[in-house]
Amino acid sequence: MSHTDPLAPQAAPDDSVLLTARGIRKSFGDNEVLKGFDFEVRRGEVVVLIGPSGSGKTTVLRSLNGLETPDGGILSFAGGPELDFSKPVTKTARFAMRNRSAMVFQQHNLFPHMTVIENVIEGPVRVQRVPKARAIAAAEALLDRVGLSEKRDAYPFELSGGQQQRVGIVRALALKPDLLLFDEPTSALDPELVGEVLQVIKELADEGWTMVVVTHELSFARQAADEVLFMDGGVVVERGAPGTIFTNPTEERTRRFLDRILRPLD
């Protein structure tokens, strides 16, 4: 594996298990949005979560990144402790887990008061204590790789939606996480800007990044995913290779969901 490409992940995709989630539960008030979620992600694997809104997909991502604290269940990253959420989990443990992944948000959530380069180096410099010159060099290489070198000193409001989202991706990459999390990264974009963002994500997948992607872009899932999980009502209804799920789903619910997305007018 060549590490000269700035887009290449830190660890080689050796197929070992990176992340295990077992029985993850989460309620908001009376609304139980996750009713026992299980999956395993191997290094280099691309897992795509699909399903109707409210099915719990986003809550899965947010739990992995420590933005939500599950009410129960177990999360563990390779080489890290097993976090059992049925007991109180310390802040230190949650922060340690959070640092294993980086999130790309639907609404990019770039820092509006910082330029593109400042957005990208903020995490490495302020949190990871990377020397500033080195962080800048790394950030410039990443920006160059996604075609945004000339936007280095622009403020987020000066960028198109697609460019903003690509900066969001670069900001996540700059943290050198083990796992990338994408929460509907193209849902807020104008249709003609979706392609440039999906293209970058697809390239990252090809480079060997491990990622969990929540998306409604089924064509992306078909091309990039190693495994597709269809979620509904807080559980995984069906999982498998994209070819199987999309062409020959076993479950009636999966079939109906795919029909609604692929043939909305029928």
């Binding site: 922060f95 999130m103 959530n109 509006p112 008061h113 903020e122 949190v127 409001f157 900001r171």
Partner: protein, 221 residues
């Protein structure tokens, strides 16, 4: 030249000097201390700790629910009766700081709440603690939102410092009062005091505009 005009000219610079040496330093010191206090009170009000947020709410309620003049008198004339004597200047600074602390706390609290939740999450996701996120991500954005209302607070404060004349602080209004008492030209001197306050506030407003433009550089127009 009429004697009225001559009196106006003769008293102009003493009144301005009363502003420069009294009003402005009093306002600046009280505003600076008040802002620090206000940030603490705003954070306390936003805290999940019931005792902390309750205490902050109580403080804001008392400050906003009682006249500034009464607060000033409690500190300067009231405290000595329980053995705590504070000089005019420190008394004034304490009263005005506490006052700014109460009003500005609400402004800062609203400004912090106006920053989208996603900004906190973006800070967390790049590994920041809540305090770092607050400092690096949230407060700079809240600052932009709070400049116009805080400028109002400051301009009000500059005018409110005239109350300090009642506890013997030599500032703009007290200088005018003294000249008026001596010359018996009350109308002239008090209008002149009003004019000088107004000139000061004009300068401050232009300063506010410059600051807003600077903080707006990262926002689409």
């Amino acid at each position: 030249m009429s004697s009225g005009w001559q009196l106006f000219l003769d008293s102009f610079w003493p009144i301005v000097w009363g502003g420069v040496s009294g009003t402005i330093p009093l306002a600046l010191a009280s505003f600076a201390i008040g802002l620090v206090l206000a940030l603490g009170v705003a954070l306390a009000r936003l805290s999940k700790n019931r005792v902390l947020s309750g205490a902050a709410r109580f403080y804001v309620s008392v400050i906003r629910g009682t006249p500034l003049l009464v607060q000033l008198f409690v500190i300067f004339y009231g405290l000595p009766t329980i053995g705590l004597v504070i000089d005019p200047w420190p008394s004034a600074i304490i009263a005005f700081s506490l006052n700014v602390g109460g009003y500005a706390a609400e402004v800062i609290r609203a400004a912090i709440l106006s920053v989208p939740k996603g900004q906190w999450e973006a800070g967390y996701t790049i590994g920041m603690s809540s305090s770092t996120t607050l400092r690096r991500i949230i407060l700079p954005q809240a600052a932009r939102v709070s400049v116009p209302p805080l400028s109002n607070t400051f301009i009000s404060l500059v005018k409110d410092t005239s109350l300090a004349s009642l506890i013997l602080v030599t500032e703009l209004f007290r200088v005018s009062q003294q000249i008026a008492a001596f010359s018996r030209e009350f109308m002239l001197l008090y209008l002149e005091a009003a004019l000088v306050y107004w000139l000061f506030c004009l300068v401050l407003s232009s300063g506010q505009n410059a600051l807003e433009r600077r903080l707006d550089r990262y926002v689409a127009h």
